[in-house]
């Protein structure tokens, strides 16, 4: 029991809490919104995107953390870009080879993982300063934090736009489907409401807004 209470003060616990709730990349930091709006119209797209981004975050953080003592400070951004670009191309070819349907559904957004702010942000803010074991855990926590927000948005949007979840019909055919949820404005509505609810639950508000 004592061990459980003391767990709150370990670095592991803090890293995972940062990624999942306290500094969640989408809900709190509002990073990576582009892909979160574009591909969350179906749950399987969101799962695939979440897995791909998680893989890229973990991989790039690991590699950068390993070589962090050899990167000259002046060219560190370019080094991050090279590492991230290589991993994104790996993900792209893997999807193209083994899941061609998903690849065509995700379209250009697989290649655009390279511009996802979360990947670059974790490299710069965490991986460049921390040892490998923490970096791996941080990448995993941030990836899961990104994925579950995406899946939550996608569940709401897919139910309202198509009446299905993972292509399994759950609403009756007579339900008037909301076409607005299948396009980007619906993503904005759902994401905005989700950010409102989650910030209210975690009591996390912008400092300037209350001042």
């Amino acid at each position: 029991m004592k061990k459980l209470i003391r767990m709150r003060y370990t670095k592991w616990f803090n890293i995972s809490r940062d990624g999942l709730s306290r500094n969640n990349p989408i809900v709190i930091s509002v990073l990576g919104i582009c892909s979160a709006l574009a591909i969350t119209n179906r749950v399987d797209n969101a799962l695939a995107m979440g897995a791909a981004v998680t893989f890229v975050i973990i991989g790039s953080s690991l590699i950068i953390s390993m070589i962090r003592n050899f990167i000259p400070t002046r060219v560190r951004m370019i080094t991050y870009m090279v590492v991230i670009a290589g991993l994104v191309i790996i993900v792209q070819f893997m999807l193209q080879a083994f899941f061609p349907d998903l690849y065509s559904a995700l379209g250009a957004y697989v290649g655009l993982i390279i511009t996802n702010c979360i990947v670059m942000g974790r490299s710069e803010a965490f991986a460049a300063k921390n040892p490998v074991k923490f970096t791996f855990f941080d990448g995993l926590a941030n990836g899961i934090g990104y994925t579950y927000v995406l899946v939550l948005i996608a569940i709401v949007r897919e139910i309202l736009a198509f009446g299905t979840v993972l292509n399994y019909q759950i609403l009756p055919d007579t339900f008037p489907t909301w076409q607005v949820m299948a396009i980007a404005p619906g993503g904005f509505f759902v994401l905005g409401l989700l950010i409102w609810v989650m910030r209210d639950l975690t009591k996390n508000y912008d400092e300037e807004a209350t001042a």
């Binding site: 008037p176 909301w178 076409q179």
Partner: protein
Amino acid sequence: MEFVTKNSPHLRRPNANVVRMMRDVAIALSPLVIFAIHQHGLSALWILLVSVVSMVATEYIYYQIIDKLNGEKFTLNNKSFTVYNFSVVVSGLIYGLTLPDQIPLVIVAIGGIIGVFLAKLIFGGMGQNIFNIAAFARVFVVLSFGTALAYTNHVDADLGATALGVLNQDMLNENATNYGFWTMFSGIGLPGSLGETSALLILAGGLYLFMRKSFDVFVPLTYVGTVFILSLAVMFTQDVGFWYPATHVLAGGLLFGAVFMATDPITIPTTRPGRIYFAFGLGVITFIIRLFGNLPEGVVFAILIMNMFVPAIDYHKWATNKFTLKNVSIFTAIVIITVVLTAVGVHYAG
């Protein structure tokens, strides 16, 4: 010297208040309601009832939940609930009157609930909203359930399209005049939304609001005038008859939107020159959507787009310094440039 403290609207009139203005709008809308029920039968009554009740009920439930979360006890009449000053009733009526007559009631209810929740309640309720509630609800219905919008035609069963629908297919098609001027003006038997067809009753309502000074008459005048001038430019350059500007002014939701939606005191600028720029922008966007857009009508989209620009055109210096020579000449230059650009654009697009 006597100091008076009161809530907005701070108009330069002693007896202006929210209840009086909103009640006037409701009175001005009542002939349109009667006309819609007369023309479309009981289905119109049901659509209007559902649209009003869905908005009122959503607001009531929302404020009861907020009070519960703030730890207050349950009271039947809530102080934030705006049914007492007719605000939410007027929003619901306007929203219902913009809907087509064959729309399923479920869709009406969904649009009302989402509209009042996303456009009004989460911004902080009455007086805080950025976007026009009725326009938002209508746009939500158009974008979500575009296939469910069907019109009944009482004049000619073969010709299913509205006048603007004909013009949307072919920009200068003279079939748009098939209805005749009197039908377009009175709206009897014209296909279209519940309250948007009768230009006569809308003008009567606008005249009543003008005589009671419950809205700024410059907004609808500038709005309709802009559309009229732009369509006149197209008429002269493309060599079509006078039916073209007349159709653009009388058909669709232009008059209804200009009189009842674009004059909502919450979502439009507060200064007089700002309002004129606002209405001019509305006219230009409406005309461009009608001419070059994919949809036949653009009034509600124009209102939402210009609502976004209200903080930018609410220029503080215009509050006192109204119509100097410089301001008027700048505005005239903008109008002339817009007319020329529209004429050139129609020449190359049409």
